[in-house]
Assembly symmetry: C2
Homo-oligomer: 186 residues x 2
Amino acid sequence: MTKREEIIQIGARLFSKRGYAATSMRDLAREVGMEPASLYNHIKSKQDILDDCLMMLAQLYADSMQKASELDLSALQKLERVIHDQIDISLTHPTKVSLIPAEWVHLEKSKQQFIGIRNHYEEGFKQLLLQSIAEGDIRKVNIELTTFSILSTLRWLHNWYDVEGQLSIDELKNELTQNLIEGIST
Amino acid sequence: MTKREEIIQIGARLFSKRGYAATSMRDLAREVGMEPASLYNHIKSKQDILDDCLMMLAQLYADSMQKASELDLSALQKLERVIHDQIDISLTHPTKVSLIPAEWVHLEKSKQQFIGIRNHYEEGFKQLLLQSIAEGDIRKVNIELTTFSILSTLRWLHNWYDVEGQLSIDELKNELTQNLIEGIST
DNA sequence: CCTACCGATCGGTAGG
DNA sequence: CCTACCGATCGGTAGG
């Protein structure tokens, strides 16, 4: 891991714990183990760290939706894929994912791009739901409400899973996917 | 509305938009229409505003659970009550509710009390699920996962509802409650 | 409710 | 990667 990656990882942890605005570069330097001024040999700015965290995740979500759309599967199976991918992303990058709900507002240059990717993802999700209804695999649910409900649950996963030692990742995937899908299946 | 209430309401709106730490008392004073120093004739501190917002909500949630528990109803009906109450609270105090996920960490004196009330509420929710299973009204679901899934959806509601002009409040209550409960009913 | 102001801390730069 | 430092801004107080 490069020093830059280490700084970004520790930064994500601090941002996650105290919030972006309330974390100072002095706090970060202390945790990394260097003087505040030295951080700037590895990163351009505080904003640079947030940017790196959130845009990296945005890319993962976009890739997930893109790949799923290209598969030769039913819409419901594609839906299960993107749900599994979201669970994987949440468990692989929990601290970065925890920044999404609250800290994306502090993005500057990348903010519009981030919003664009997020909207595109949600649009793709709704399309998969619509298709699944058309294919007869799920009931005629309210698309907006169901999308919002499923994505809310997935967005909050990082806050919940690490507190719980009961379920393995695969059990979680199965239980959670079933929980989210079964309620709307035909 | 007293001046204090006005300051707190505008404060909640700014905290909600930019975050607690990133909102300055100068920003707030400008929006309220007075000099920064004058705010302190109505509030004790910046923290005082956050405290007021979050503890007021905590009280509403606690009251909701308390009242539901005293009713002569099935556990499932009690569950529907607290879900309805949460929807009401989210729609009545959307900006204050939006502070919960990210800004409770900035509480100081009240933080432990806030966490206590939240944990007590979640415990009550799980108990209602358990009882509903015992009473044969819902399937033998994973309690932790189902609690987390329902509460996540409700917690995110404020972010979603105002963007949507389709559903009336009562339609929302019915559709959402059905969506949350139906998937786990027997 | 305002003017005037305080010490502390902020993100970041210069220069080596 | 460090020492030394900058201008800006912060939450809040004194005194009227």
